[in-house]
C-alpha cells in the first residue's frame, strides 16, 4: 500500500488514550432550575476537548464543575460524580484549593491581578509553597512565561503592571499564571473571545504546544476555533450532552440532527 492509503487506514483505527477526568451522571441545579442533565463525559489525557453549544446550554457550567468553581455560587448544587484520575473531586476529603492548583483555569476576559507581571505569575506558586528560594521562584516564573510564549515580550519589564499589557499579552499572562502552579488539567472558558485574530492565533498555537504537558478543556463559541484546536468535541444543548466524538467526525459528519443544525447555523 502507498503512504496515503496507510495513513487513511491508520486514521480509522481508534486511539488508545488514558482518561484524565470524567463526569458520571452529572446534574447541576441553580436553585430550582436544573442547568445540566445527567452528563457523562470522559476527558482524555494530553488532548484538547472543546465544549460547544448555544448560550445557556450548560457547557460553561460543566466546565466550572471540573474545578468546583460552582462552589462559589451559593444556590448551585451538583450531583453525580466528577472524577480526577478516578478520585471524586466532590469528596469531603478533597482540599478545594489544592484541587484548583491541579485543575487550573483561564477566563474569557484577561484578568491579571493589579500587580507586576512577575507577581502575577509568582502569586500561585508562592501561596501553594511550591518553591523554597527566590532563585527557584524566578526560574518557575521565567519558565511559565516562556511556555506561555510571552517571555521575549516582557523579560525587560517584569516589574511593570500586568494590566499595562495588550489584551492578547494579558491573556497569555493569565495562561502563564495558570500553568505556574503546574496543573494537570487546564480549563479555558472562551479564552480568545476578546482577542483579535493574530492574538487568537498565538493562543491557539500555544494551546497546541501546551497539550503535550496538560490536558485542556476549552469552551468556545467559535466553531472554527473548536475545529482548529481540539481533537475531541462535545456538543451541549439545553443542559444535555447531545453528542461527543472526534473533532473531525463532529464537523464533517455529526450523527445528531441538533448538532448538525447548530454547527451549520440552522434553526433547530
Amino acid at each position: 500500500m502507498s503512504v496515503a492509503t496507510d495513513l487513511l487506514h491508520a486514521h480509522n483505527e481508534a486511539e488508545e488514550t488514558d482518561i484524565k477526568m470524567s463526569g458520571r451522571g452529572v446534574n447541576v441545579f441553580y436553585g430550582e432550575k436544573q442547568a445540566l442533565f445527567d452528563v457523562d463525559l470522559d476527558i482524555t489525557e494530553n488532548r484538547v476537548i472543546s465544549l460547544i453549544g448555544p448560550s445557556g446550554c450548560g457547557k460553561s457550567t460543566f466546565l466550572r464543575c471540573l474545578n468546583r468553581m460552582n462552589d462559589t455560587i451559593d444556590i448551585c448544587r451538583v450531583t453525580g460524580d466528577i472524577l480526577l484520575e478516578g478520585q471524586d473531586i466532590y469528596d469531603k476529603s478533597i482540599d478545594v484549593v489544592e484541587l484548583r492548583a491541579r485543575v487550573g483555569m483561564v477566563f474569557q476576559k484577561p484578568n491579571p491581578f493589579p500587580k507586576s507581571i512577575y507577581e502575577n505569575v509568582a502569586y500561585g506558586p508562592r501561596i501553594h509553597g511550591m518553591t523554597r528560594t527566590k532563585d527557584e521562584l524566578d526560574e518557575l516564573v521565567t519558565k511559565s512565561l516562556r511556555r506561555a510564549g510571552l517571555w521575549e515580550e516582557v523579560k525587560d519589564r517584569l516589574d511593570q503592571p500586568g494590566t499595562g499589557l495588550s489584551g492578547g499579552q494579558q491573556q497569555r499572562l493569565c495562561i502563564a499564571r495558570a500553568i505556574a502552579t503546574k496543573p494537570e488539567v487546564l480549563l479555558m472558558d472562551e479564552p480568545c473571545s476578546a482577542l483579535d485574530p493574530i492574538a487568537t492565533a498565538i493562543i491557539e498555537e500555544l494551546i497546541d504546544e501546551l497539550r503535550e504537558k496538560f490536558t485542556i478543556v476549552i469552551v468556545t463559541h467559535s466553531m472554527q476555533q473548536a475545529a482548529r484546536v481540539s481533537q475531541k468535541t462535545a456538543f451541549f444543548h439545553l443542559g444535555k450532552l447531545i453528542e461527543e466524538g472526534s473533532t473531525e467526525q463532529i464537523f464533517t459528519n455529526p450523527t445528531d440532527k441538533r448538532t448538525q443544525d447548530y454547527i451549520t447555523g440552522r434553526i433547530g
Binding site: T252, N253, T259, Q260
Partner: protein, 234 residues
Amino acid sequence: MANAPSEHIVRSYEDELTELTRAISEMGGMVEVAISNATQALIGVDHELASKTAKADKAVDDMQRYIDEKAVSMIARRQPMAGDLRHIVSAIHVANDLERIGDIAKNLARRTKHIDSQRVSKQLYNGVRHMSDLCLSQIKRSLDSFTLRDSAIALDVCRQDDEVDALYISLFREFLTYMMEDPRNITDCTHLLFCAKNLERAGDHATNIAEAAYYLETGENLYYDIESGKVQLN
C-alpha cells in the same frame, strides 16, 4: 436524519447552497442533451448536429468553472461545516465528472465525420445506441441521487455499472468479429469501438457522481463501506 436540510439562519447562505444544486442540475441537463445529441449525430450521420454538439461543450466547461468559483468562494466566506461542507465538496466533484462526460460527448460528435455510414451495418450502430441509452439512464439517476440526496439510488447506479461494462465487452467482441470478417471495416469499427469505450467511461463518471451523492447523504466513503461489508453491491 442528520442530513434533512432545514432552513439556514443566514438566508443568503441557504440561497447560495440552493444555487449550487441548481447549477449542478442545469449542468447535468446540458451533459445529458450533449450525449443524446452526439449519439443521434453519430447514428444519423448528422454533421450539423455533430458540430453543434461539439461547440456546445464550451458552455459545459464554463458551467464547471462557475460551480468551482461558487464553491471556493463559499468555503472562503462561509466556512461550511458538516452537511454543508459535504454539499460543497461533492458539488465540486460532481461538476468535474460532468465536465468529463461533456468531453466524451464532444469526442463522440467529432467521430461522426470519420465514419463512412454507407458501409457500416446498422446493427453495429444499434449496439452504440443501446450503450448510449444505458449511460444516459445512469447519468440521469446519478444526478437524481445527488439532488434528492438519496443513497439508495446512488447504490443502485453503482450496481448497474456492471451492466454497462458487460455491454461494452459484448460490443467489443462484436466489432472484432466484424473487423475479422472484412478488413475494410477496420477504420469504422475502430472509431465505433472508441465511441463504445468512451460511453463506458461516461458510465464510470456516473458511478463517481453516485459515490459523491452517497458521501453527501451518509458522510461515509462508499469504498470503505463496501470493504467493511456495511454495504453490499452485488
